[in-house]
């Protein structure tokens, strides 16, 4: 009889194996085959995970006195936040409209720039060297969180919505160009060959044979990205890139917690609304 350890309920059911060949005549023993077949490897993995969790949690610099104080402070924050104050709704509306403008312009600019970058990053329509450049642009744009990009733009072009627009253009490229490039790689190449056979120049081939095939996806992506940009614009504002996020950061900085709660509520409402609208439109496309 084997001495297999107990398998936890979290072991996925992917462990399929052959018959229990060496079984005795009256078989009254059965154990689920473990996901990691080798017991040594399995215990190393389990042990490693436990060690990691214990070690990281153990070394967390939690200052319990500070936390106790913090909970008290949280009480003050929430106490100060209720009821939410819509007194300065003028400021709130301005901030929100600015976020909307940032999102619209960034979507427009981002989608426009995404098209050439997506073509560059599609293996099947450009030479290898160009492909690597295109992919590198997308990887860099995707890897940096918009807040990091925003900080750099704020330093370069100053506080305000311009930094926000530039940030979200980069953010849009990271997503739209990636998805679009994948779509281009999946296109029906027969049409491209037909155009080439008709003697069409390279650019015309791209526009006539490839663009119509990727358009439906592009429209869907644009609407999705507008929604994403509206969300993100609330965040990049916190580091000074304009929009309602800046309004929120200011309110927080001045301990106006009731105004901050009002802003947060507007942001949440706007995000839910834009998600619902964009979902509806994309469903109908």
């Amino acid at each position: 009889m084997s001495t297999d350890p107990i398998d936890g309920p979290d072991v996925p059911a992917g462990a399929a194996g052959g018959a229990t060949s060496g079984a005795v005549a009256t078989r009254d023993h059965w154990r689920k085959k473990s996901f990691i077949a080798n017991p040594v490897a399995r215990w190393l993995v389990y042990g490693g995970v436990i060690l990691y969790v214990v070690w990281t949690l153990g070394t967390l610099p939690i200052d319990w006195a500070r936390v106790a104080e913090g909970v008290e402070r949280a009480g003050r924050i929430f106490g100060g936040a209720f009821p939410p104050s819509f007194e300065r709704s003028g400021l709130l509306i301005d901030g929100f409209l600015e976020s909307l403008k940032i999102a619209i312009l960034a979507t427009f600019g981002g989608v426009l720039l995404s098209i050439p970058i997506a073509f560059m990053a599609a293996r099947n329509v450009v030479p290898r060297a160009v492909f690597y450049v295109g992919r590198a642009i997308i990887i860099v744009a995707r890897s940096f969180h918009p807040v990091i990009v925003a900080i750099i733009f704020v330093k370069a072009v100053g506080f305000g919505p311009l930094a926000g627009v530039l940030t979200l253009i980069v953010y849009s490229i990271g997503f739209v160009a990636k998805m679009l490039a994948e779509r281009i790689e999946e296109i029906d190449f027969g049409q491209v060959e037909a155009m080439k056979a008709a003697g069409a120049p390279y650019l015309s081939t791209l526009i006539y044979a490839v663009v119509p095939q990727i358009m439906p996806r592009q429209v869907g992506l644009t609407i999705y990205q507008l929604d994403s940009n509206l969300r993100a614009s609330a965040v990049v504002g916190i580091v000074g890139a304009g929009g309602i996020g800046s309004t929120l950061a200011n309110a927080f900085g001045r301990y106006d917690y009731d105004f901050a709660l009002a802003i947060t509520m507007v942001i949440v409402g706007a995000i839910l609304l834009s998600e619902a609208v964009s979902g509806q439109i994309r469903k109908r496309l």
Partner: protein, 267 residues
């Protein structure tokens, strides 16, 4: 979209109503862009100046300064820990939330709305905003970061998991109910195995996202590599900032490779 409208309309590929609709959408788009451009508060001279400013900035980043590399790598490891621990806790905490928020497992209508409320509030508030709040509560440091990422992730994981629960094959559930198994055992045997693949896929995906999110927590004081970046930028130490940026790039790419490997291994 605009490009294809013009080209396609020359052929009259669309009916009059479709064409009017298309022109309508086009006009609306242009109007929105026009409104945004005309009323946004930017100094246009700065816009034309922006490429030069950016070039200047990147010029000052070269060559990256690696003198602080060991400290950077240590904090980078801390960033990974924030993302990993926060994901692990969020995934565990999202299980009961998903169970509440799925129509076919929730005990009653009230619990369904509790579940949905948790998901919506968690999902609609960005990590950075959660971090602002928790820095105020816990003070600056990585604890605030972990809790912030956890709060944001619960909604993400819980929503996708809840949807997976709603989409399961209900026939095994019926069969196990017919054997006289308790509610809990029915969940463990008929529902859990069906949502396992989604569970792993979503956890890995969220870990990948959280890796990126945890790089910016430091900017609001919630721990991780962001603190060093902020420090370098504030002191105009652009060469060190460049090193940090490269380190983040490496981390994120490595994270993507690891999550792709895990996905292949587990799913």
């Amino acid at each position: 979209m605009t490009l294809s409208d013009l080209r396609r309309d020359d052929w009259s590929r669309f009916s009059l109503k479709q064409r009017l609709q298309r022109y309508g959408v086009l006009a609306l788009t242009l109007l929105a862009i026009g409104w945004a451009v005309s009323s946004i508060e930017v100094i246009w001279a700065w816009v034309w100046d922006a490429p030069e400013q950016m070039g200047d900035l990147f010029g000052r980043m070269i060559p990256p300064d690696p003198s602080n590399l060991s400290a950077i790598l240590r904090v980078l490891w801390e960033t990974v820990n924030i993302a990993t621990i926060a994901t692990a806790f969020a995934v565990i905490l999202s299980l009961p939330v998903a169970w509440l928020a799925a129509q076919n497992t929730t005990p009653n209508r009230a619990t369904l709305w509790v579940g949905r409320f948790i998901l919506v509030s968690s999902r609609s508030i960005n990590t950075i905003i959660w971090a602002l709040l928790f820095v105020a509560i816990f003070g600056p440091g990585i604890v605030a970061g972990i809790v912030a990422i956890m709060f944001r992730s619960i909604g993400f994981v819980g929503k996708l998991l809840g949807e997976a629960i709603e989409e399961i094959d209900k026939r095994p559930v019926e069969a196990l109910e017919a054997t006289g198994a308790s509610r809990f055992k029915v969940i463990a045997y008929a529902i859990v195995p069906q949502v396992m693949p989604t569970f792993w896929a979503v956890s890995i995906l969220r870990w990948d996202i959280n890796l990126r999110e945890s790089t910016v927590l430091g900017l609001v004081g919630a721990g991780g590599i962001g603190i060093i970046l902020q420090g370098a930028i504030d002191t105009f130490n652009w060469r060190e900032a460049a090193t940090v940026l490269l380190a983040i790039l490496g981390l994120v790419i490595l994270g993507e490779i690891v999550s792709a490997w895990l996905r292949r291994r587990i799913l």
